[in-house]
Structures are given as structure tokens and as C-alpha cells.
């Protein structure tokens, strides 16, 4: 409607506050609009009445705001409102000193996981391709297997089919590979700083084994084509390659926050009074 200085409506004038004056024109206008439409289903006379009301309402409304918005003055008596809580004390997260002995003194930056994921993703291609060459004499074999999930017209392909080159297979497989590796890398990145002790063991061996186990039990539904043709031994090898390479890359990554020991809550990245901010208090209280 109008545009005036900010909060003009609210300026104080000798114990009163300016508020927009009540007005009936909006409801008149709204009624007019409704009748205008309602006429279509009842009687054109209703529409005519509606249009008249619209005209009257608009004029009334304009006169309400032009040339000046109409105001009313509401009297105030200010009394300070006390704002208090019965809960006076705020607990702090206790970061006990004792646990520190068991903890590493360094951890990895979150991004290291992504780098690891990329490196691992590239590395695992080699055992997979090697498998294709050795077992099936075709590098397209593993690629098509992976891509089989997304390729539409594949039903009961023969081994020869899978060994041939299909551009859809290559495309889908690349997308799956890139997405999956980046995501897993990100996850490592988020989790490893929390559990930073043995990235190679954790990320390299345990996680791939778990992953393979899970996949083995569900692949029949996710992608039966893949499932029927998969060589699980080789599969584990490429998974572990991924994990080990990713883990190694993460482990080589320069560690942050040297020379201090960090308790679990801190490693989780929890933001709370008295935790990490203490260390940075010299910078600023404003984190963002």
C-alpha cells in the first residue's frame, strides 16, 4: 500500500503510539469481490452489486490512505517487564581430563575425506578392470555390470553382451562411481575426525567389508543382473582397494589442531559454551 519511513506508524508521541486506524473498507471490498464472483453461479444481479461494492470499497480505501494514512493514537503507560528465569544456572558439558590419555592429539580436516574418496575411487578402478581383462577378456565387463542398474533395455543379457561396449553402460557406471565415491568420501570426512585413531583400518578394511556384506545380501533386489554375474572375491578386492587408498590419503593429510587433545564431544564438532570457543576467544565472540 503505502511506503513511509520505517516504523513511522510506531513513533511515540507524548505517551501515545500511532497505529493504523481501524477501517471497514477492506471488508467492503472483499465482500464486493466475493459477490462479483458469486454472481456467476447465482444471478448476474449479484455480480452487479459486487462491482458496485468494489468501486465503493476502493474509493473508500483510497481516501483512507491518500493523501495521508489515517492513524489513531493509542495511549501507553510503560512499565518495565522483568524478564527472569527461575533456572539461574546453566550446566556445562564436562570435558573430563582423564580420557585424554587415550586420545590422539591430532585429527584430520573434514575435506580430507573427500580427497580420499576421489583417490580411492580412482584406485579401485584398476582391480576392477584387471578382473575384467583376466576373467572375461574385456574391460567393459565390470563397467557394464555397474551400469546395468540404469540401462533400460537389459533383460537377461548374455556374458557376451556384458563384455561388449555400451555407451549407456559407460555413462551410467561413471555417474554411479563418481557419486558413490564422493559420498562415501564425504562420510569418511565427517566421521574420521570423530574416530581418528586408525583411518586405514577403519576406512580401509572394516568399512569395505561391512559394505560388501550388506551389498551381498541385498544386491539380488537392487540389481539382479549385477548380482548374477558378480565375482565376489574380486569385488571385495576393489572395495578394499578403495578403502585402503582412501584411508591412506586421509592419513597422509596434514593434521589439524596439533598439540592439544580433544575430547569426543569436541571432535564431534559440537558447538557449545565453554567448548571450542574457549580456544578462540581471543579472535571474537561472534563465530559467524
Amino acid at each position: 500500500m503505502t511506503d513511509t519511513v520505517q516504523h513511522e506508524a510506531g513513533r511515540e508521541r507524548e505517551g501515545t503510539i500511532h497505529l493504523p486506524a481501524p477501517t471497514a473498507w477492506p471488508i467492503v471490498l472483499a465482500f464486493g469481490v466475493t459477490l462479483g464472483f458469486a454472481g456467476l453461479v447465482t444471478n448476474l444481479g449479484v455480480t452487479v452489486l459486487g462491482v458496485i461494492l468494489i468501486a465503493v470499497g476502493s474509493i473508500g480505501w483510497f481516501r483512507q490512505v491518500l493523501p495521508h494514512e489515517q492513524h489513531e493514537d493509542v495511549p501507553v503507560r510503560v512499565q518495565p517487564v522483568t524478564i527472569e528465569s527461575s533456572r539461574k544456572f546453566v550446566e556445562r558439558i564436562e570435558v573430563s581430563e582423564e580420557h585424554r590419555a587415550h586420545l590422539p592429539v591430532e585429527t584430520y580436516p573434514v575435506l580430507s575425506g573427500v580427497k580420499g574418496g576421489i583417490a580411492g575411487g580412482i584406485a579401485m578402478i584398476f582391480p576392477a578392470l584387471a578382473y575384467g581383462l583376466i576373467a572375461q577378456h574385456s574391460i567393459w565387463y565390470p563397467i557394464n555390470l555397474l551400469g546395468g542398474a540404469g540401462v533400460a533395455n537389459w533383460r537377461n543379457p548374455t556374458t557376451a553382451d556384458i563384455a561388449a561396449f555400451h555407451w549407456e553402460g559407460l555413462l551410467v557406471a561413471s555417474v554411479i562411481q563418481i557419486v558413490a565415491c564422493l559420498l562415501v568420501g564425504l562420510l569418511y570426512g565427517a566421521m574420521l575426525p570423530m574416530l581418528p585413531r586408525r583411518p586405514v583400518l577403519l576406512g580401509g578394511i572394516i568399512a569395505p567389508l561391512l559394505w560388501t556384506g550388506l551389498l551381498h545380501s541385498t544386491l539380488g533386489v537392487i540389481n539382479p543382473v549385477l548380482d548374477e554375474h558378480i565375482a565376489w572375491g574380486w569385488f571385495v578386492i576393489s572395495q578394499v582397494t578403495f578403502g585402503v587408498v582412501a584411508g591412506l590419503v586421509v592419513a597422509r593429510e596434514s593434521r589439524i589442531r596439533t598439540a592439544q587433545s580433544l575430547p569426543f564431544v569436541v571432535r564431534m564438532g559440537i558447538e557449545a559454551p565453554g567448548l571450542m570457543h574457549d580456544d578462540h576467544s581471543q579472535h571474537s565472540g561472534e563465530k559467524h
Binding site: 497505529l19 493504523p20 471488508i27 472483499a30 464472483f37 503507560r77 528465569s85 533456572r87 561472534e286
Partner: protein, 563 residues
């Protein structure tokens, strides 16, 4: 205790607001001509609650009819009108207005403003919405012109073409549906504009966007989403009216028009619409869960990002309502993916609420009970949503009672539950009195039980192949017992709803006096008297953090040191 560097002071208004005094007629006049955001907010909420009862009564009639096979409680025609009106009422006359009611009342208070950006537009929008609703219900008596019997809309709330064409829907029911929703749609558009402008332009000093209460953030997102959501429906309804009144051919399959186009247009509106409905429910949870867990919300920036993310993604998933219309397999797959992606930001929200509760000291007053149930039920509802987004499975479940169960789990289990939570929570602010906790507990537990008896059971009816929108069914289908259970649950909900209404009224006169800040909360509205004076704040407040009242209550440990 008040810290002088943070000038938030309320005021106690000794002169009663002029409208509150006087005869009944004068008071009524006061409500009719008001441009005050608080009064309009109350009007919105009361209006929606009345329609909640009306829509609920329609649901009860539906459930009586379906209780046993071959029932004759309603005729086929009446049944069709009832479920159409039930859906339309609940979505357009309950869900949307009530969210605008809360936004109207609370947003200016929360951001420290005196009123909405455009107070008169605000009144205009409310009255459009209200009169649109009345026009819709007038169809029950108005029907085909002033001369015939009543004919309420009977084409489903989605009103698929070409059933809405003149040949197949000769009466005026469909016209009422379109016209009434166009009118209330204009009102919705006006309010959405108003809320956006208020939040962007009326914040008090210090309240940067990242210091706004999450409630305000979500209302901003919802209103922005509404701008591009309700308008396509209005446009499509205009096309429908052009077809019906001017002989146009938009959806006329005889003249080359396409029924599919309507289906697309409707869901381009319809899907974002369901997020328009649920985001305010999230907004309410975002306020209540922290206060009752006594902790700051976990991951505020992530919550903001997730809300914005949901709004964006939700614009690109509409065709998951159309897996069975025969789209290409590639389009089907695309919409499967986009739909599932919505689960990710939504999951972030659930996890953040969980993390907020984690480590807190949770007080289970009625609002928190409702919010906890909400999180739980929304989890299930979301997961059944994921089930539906699996297109091949949706080929089975589409238009079955499983879908009905899914969306009532959200619409009732999430939205209505949070509406109740919000009312219990802010009632003291609005009226100055607490609602009865004892009745509140009864209300909650009965509603919870009724809800689960009704809607849990519906999932199984869906598995057993019961389609929706049927007014009766064969006795030998194996659906008899389950339908009976569903109906019984609906009545338990009805009883709970009546207790709720009783509590609202009783507490207004007999409730315990609340004081300014009964929940020991942290946002600005609790720094004003209850009920707040016409001008909200005597002096414009100024804030330094997301929880201004926390800062005042804990001067030695304020948030702004850490945010």
C-alpha cells in the same frame, strides 16, 4: 535483572483497548473493522477451528457410511460431495488460514514489529479468505443457481478434468469449487505478500536474518513458496471457468484439449501446497521443542538451509502423484529421484529436533506432548511417503487407502497435532490464561489413540486393495473389520476434538492467570504482557542473538557470546 544494554521492555497497558469495551455490537464492529495483526490472527485461527469441526463432521459422516459394507447412511452423490468438501475444507479453509493466523499473530511479535507491513491489506486478505469459504459452503444450499436444490462440489479436491467439464458435471458444484477457491486464493496471495514484506522489512534493530526465530524463517519460506504455489491453481481454475462459461477447450478432450494438462497443473500447485501446510507445523515445533527441552535449537543454520532446500526441491516433484497416468519410464525415474531427495532435508530436520531433545531436560507439558508425537508421526508419514515415491509400488498403492493413510498421517499426525501444540503453547499469550493441563492430557491421549486406531489401520486397507473415493464396498473383500476399526478411531478423535473445544472455552473464563512468560521461553513475544497491548512494544526492542530473552535471563552466559 534486565540488562540495560538490551532494551527490550514491554509495557502494561492500563487503558483497555477501546474495542474490548462497549456493547456486543460495538465489540463486533471492532472485530470487523480491525486492522490489528493480533486480532486478525485470532480471527484466522477461530475461523479455521470452526471449519476444522465442520470438516471433521464431514469425515465422521464418511466414516459412518464406510463402517459396514453396503451401508445406506449417505447416498452415492452425498458421499462424493462430502469427501470433496472434506478435503477442500481441510486444505483450504483449515490448513492454510490457520497457518496464516499463527503467522499474523506471532511474526510481528517475534521480530519486534508493531504490526504487519500492510495492515489494511491484511484485513482485506482475511475477509477474502473467510468469504471464499462461506461461498464454498453456500453451494450446499445454493446449488445450480438460486432455483434448484443444493449441489456441493463432488469431483474430489483434485477435480480432475474432464470430469469437471460441463457434460460430466452439469450442475454448479464445480463452479462453486473454482470460484470460492479463486476468491480465497486472492486472500492467500495477499497475506503471503504481507508476511514476506513484514519479515524482510519490519525486523527490529539487531535482528539480522540469521538471528530471526526459526518460526519467522519458516513463515518466510512458506509465504515465498505460497506466492508461486497458489497462483498456478488460480490460473488453472480460471482456465476451467473459461471452459465452463465461455466454451473454451483447455481441458476439452473432444476438441484436442488434454486431461493430462489439468493433472499437471493441479499437482504443480498441489505438491508444493502440502509443504506449505507442513512447514508451519515445522515452525511450531522449532519453537516448542527447544523451550521444553531447555536447549537452544540444534543446528540453526542447517535448519534454515533445510527449509529453503525443501521449498526448492518441492517445486520439482509434482509428478509423483502421476506415476499411473502413463508417463515415459524416464520421467517416472526422474520424479522418483527428485521425490526421494526431499527426504534428505526433511531428515535433517528430524535429526536436529532429536539432537535438540538429546541432553535436555524435557518437560512434558501438553504442547511438548503434541510436538513429540508430531516428530514420531511425521517420521512414519515421511517414510510412507518414501514408499509411495517408489513408482512401481505406487502403481499398486496409488489412490488406495494407503495414500489416504499417508497423507492423514502428515495432515493430522503432523499438522493438526502441531496446531494443537501451538494453541496450548500460545493460548496464555493471547488470552492471558493457561489452558487446563488436566483436560489437555485427556485431549492429547484420546486424540493420540484415536489417531493411531484410525490411520494406522488404513495402511492395511491399502495393502488389501481398497481404493479411495468409494462410497461403499463389497462385503466379501476382507475389508469389513478394518473399516469398522477405522471408523471407531475417528469417533475417538471426535471426542478428543470436543474436549479440546471445551478446554478452549473453559480456560478462557477459568484458566489460571498466565503472566507474561509462563513457559520460561526465549523469543520476543514473551517479553510483552499477556495479552499484548495494541502496539506490542512500547519501545522498539533491540536484539543481539537468536534468543534475546535467554540473554536477559542469563546475563553472565548470554548467547551472543557464542553465536
Amino acid at each position: 535483572m534486565a540488562d540495560q544494554t538490551l532494551p527490550i521492555s514491554g509495557s502494561v497497558d492500563v487503558t483497555p483497548p477501546h474495542a474490548a469495551a462497549g456493547t456486543f455490537l460495538e465489540r463486533l464492529h471492532g472485530w470487523v473493522v480491525t486492522v490489528d495483526h493480533k486480532k486478525l490472527g485470532i480471527l484466522y485461527v477461530v475461523y479455521s477451528l470452526i471449519f476444522l469441526l465442520v470438516g471433521g463432521a464431514e469425515a465422521l459422516a464418511i466414516r459412518i457410511q464406510l463402517m459396514i459394507p453396503g451401508n445406506h447412511f449417505l447416498t452415492a452423490a452425498t458421499y462424493n460431495q462430502f469427501f470433496t468438501m472434506h478435503g477442500t475444507t481441510m486444505v483450504f479453509l483449515v490448513g492454510m488460514p490457520i497457518l496464516f493466523g499463527f503467522a499474523n499473530y506471532l511474526v510481528p511479535l517475534m521480530i519486534g514489529a508493531r504490526d504487519m507491513a500492510f495492515p489494511r491489506l491484511n484485513a482485506f486478505s482475511f475477509w477474502l479468505t473467510a468469504l471464499g469459504g462461506l461461498l464454498l459452503y453456500f453451494s450446499f444450499i445454493g446449488g445450480p443457481g438460486l432455483y434448484g436444490m443444493g449441489a456441493a462440489p463432488d469431483v474430489g479436491w483434485f477435480a480432475y478434468a474432464p470430469l469437471t467439464a460441463h457434460v460430466f458435471s452439469p450442475g454448479n458444484g464445480t463452479d462453486y469449487w473454482a470460484l470460492a477457491l479463486i476468491v480465497s486464493g486472492f486472500g492467500t496471495l495477499g497475506t503471503a505478500i504481507n508476511i514476506v514484506a513484514t519479515i524482510i522489512s519490519m525486523r527490529c534493530k539487531g535482528m539480522s536474518l540469521l538471528r530471526m526465530p526459526l518460526f519467522a524463517w519458516l513463515m518466510l519460506v512458506v509465504s515465498a513458496l505460497t506466492l508461486v504455489t497458489i497462483t498456478p491453481l488460480t490460473a488453472a481454475q480460471f482456465m476451467l471457468l473459461i471452459d465452463r462459461y465461455l466454451g473454451g477447450h483447455f481441458f476439452d478432450t473432444q476438441a484436442g484439449g488434454s486431461a493430462l494438462v489439468w493433472i499437471h497443473f493441479f499437482w504443480i500447485f498441489g505438491h508444493p501446497e502440502v509443504y506449505v501446510l507442513v512447514l508451519p507445523a515445522f515452525a511450531i515445533a522449532n519453537e516448542i521443542i527447544p523451550v521444553f527441552s531447555r536447549k537452544a535449537i540444534f543446528g540453526y543454520p542447517a535448519m534454515v538451509a533445510a527449509s529453503v532446500g525443501i521449498a526448492f526441491v518441492s517445486l520439482g516433484v509434482w509428478a509423483h502423484h502421476m506415476f499411473t497416468v502413463g508417463m515415459t519410464s524416464v520421467s517416472n525415474a526422474f520424479f522418483v529421484l527428485s521425490t526421494m531427495l526431499v527426504g534428505i532435508p526433511t531428515g535433517i530436520k528430524i535429526f536436529n529436533w532429536l539432537a535438540t531433545m538429546w541432553g535436555g531436560k524435557i518437560r512434558f507439558a501438553t504442547p511438548m506432548l503434541y510436538c513429540t508425537a508430531f516428530v514420531f508421526q511425521f517420521l512414519i508419514a515421511g517414510l510412507t511417503g518414501i514408499i509411495l515415491s517408489v513408482a512401481p509400488w505406487d502403481w499398486q498403492l496409488h489412490n488406495s487407502y494407503f495414500v489416504i493413510a499417508h497423507f492423514h498421517y502428515v495432515l493430522v499426525g503432523a499438522i493438526v497435532f502441531n496446531i494443537f501444540a501451538a494453541i496450548y503453547y500460545w493460548y496464555p499469550k493471547v488470552t492471558g490464561r493457561m489452558m487446563s493441563e488436566r483436560l489437555g492430557k485427556w485431549n492429547f491421549w484420546l486424540f493420540l489413540i484415536g489417531f493411531h486406531v484410525t490411520f494406522d489401520t488404513m495402511h492395511f486397507l491399502g495393502f488389501l486393495g481398497m481404493p479411495r473415493s468409494i462410497y461403499t464396498y463389497e462385503p466379501n473383500r476382507g475389508w469389513n473389520g478394518l473399516n469398522m476399526v477405522v471408523s471407531i478411531g475417528a469417533f475417538i478423535q471426535g471426542v478428543a476434538a470436543l474436549i479440546f473445544v471445551y478446554n478452549l472455552v473453559w480456560s478462557y473464563f477459568h484458566g489460571e492467570v498466565a503472566g507474561n512468560d509462563p513457559w520460561d521461553a526465549w523469543t520476543l513475544e514473551w517479553a510483552t504482557p499477556s495479552p499484548p497491548p495494541d502496539y506490542n512494544f512500547a519501545t522498539d526492542p533491540e536484539v543481539k542473538s537468536r534468543r534475546p530473552l535467554w540473554d536477559l535471563k542469563h546475563p553472565d552466559d548470554p548467547d551472543w557470546k557464542y553465536e
